[in-house]
């Protein structure tokens, strides 16, 4: 029996479509190769580069510097109230040295 072209009646049954839709992902190695190739071509950032961005280094160095200042201030406040000028200068020099050590050790670490 010849039927006229009726798109809705012509459609495949649901169980046919469901069978054809029942496929999974390709092997995980495909994604890994793809990512590696896109990193090589510079389309995607590499993970290595992302972990050493300058702003992270700068933020860590700044945090170390602030910690050094904070430690220096605590040592200064726990000392005797009247600090002679020469001892005050030495305390400030100690603070600067502590901060410099903190920053340089952070830089060396990176």
């Amino acid at each position: 029996m010849t039927q006229q072209f009726q798109p809705e009646e012509d459609a495949p049954p649901v169980h046919v479509v469901e069978r054809l839709r029942a496929t999974g992902m390709p092997d995980a190695a495909v994604e890994r190769r793809l990512i590696a190739e896109l990193e090589r071509r510079g389309v995607l950032e590499t993970r290595r580069r992302r972990s050493r961005t300058p702003w992270l280094i700068a933020a860590t160095a700044a945090a170390s510097f602030l910690v050094g200042l904070h430690l220096g201030e605590r040592r200064a406040s726990s000392a005797t109230p009247a600090v002679p000028p020469i001892q005050a200068r030495e305390t400030a020099a100690d603070n600067a040295e502590n901060s410099a050590v903190a920053v340089s050790s952070t830089v060396l670490w990176f």
Binding site: P12, P13, L20, R21, M25, P26, G42
Partner: protein
């Protein structure tokens, strides 16, 4: 001291990556922007997971082996990732991706000596065997590549004839005609399975 450390953020959000969100909260557009502007691997992986099942499905039915299908999927994404910068959102991302996939598959078929002529009158590659059990996958593979592509894109992947016309470089009317022929051919070859009886 503990107060100082307590105020320091323990989780840093990188500008080139996105904090992980449920996929339905991030549209394709957001993810594409993150890939194009920041080269975000996280965003690209989300796009890959979201769209690859359908691409893989099409590739499996348009190629001869799973290995060829995987190669086609990889090549599709390579071209798509490089071409994302120029994608102008005149269609959905899925429609565009499938257009890229169709071109990859067309080139693959051409290397194998097959064309993807969507306007061909004869939609079956081989005559139906007389005394052999036909299964659905083999019947679909027996469709000519052009008719097979239209059938898969419309009935399995849900694209409209207008979208298929863009992907295949034909008119919507040609797509409709080929779909009708493909459905008829499959129905004849899978008479028992089509009516609901397993073969």
């Amino acid at each position: 001291m503990s107060t100082f450390w307590g105020s320091f953020p323990t989780k840093v959000v990188m500008p080139s990556t996105s904090v992980r969100l449920p996929s339905d909260e991030l549209s394709d557009r957001h993810l594409v922007d993150a890939v194009v502007e920041h080269g975000s691997q996280l965003a690209f992986r989300e796009l890959y997971q979201r769209h690859t099942p359908r691409l893989h499905r099409l590739a499996l039915r348009m190629t001869a082996t799973p290995h060829e299908a995987e190669d086609a999927v990889q090549e599709t994404w390579l071209r798509a990732a490089i071409g994302l910068r120029k994608f102008a959102w005149r269609s959905t991302l899925a429609t565009w991706l499938f257009g890229v996939a169709v071109n990859v598959l067309r080139e693959h078929l051409a290397r194998e000596g097959h064309g993807m002529d969507v306007s061909a009158d004869d939609v079956m590659l081989t005559a139906a065997p007389v005394h052999e059990t036909i299964d659905l996958e083999r019947a679909v593979h027996a469709l000519a590549p052009g008719a097979r592509a239209v059938f898969l894109l419309h009935d399995v992947e849900g694209f409209t004839h207008e979208e298929i016309a863009t992907q295949l470089g034909v008119t919507a009317g040609t797509s409709r005609t080929q779909l009708h022929r493909a459905r008829r051919a499959l129905r004849e070859r899978l008479r028992e399975f089509w009516s609901g009886e397993e073969t």
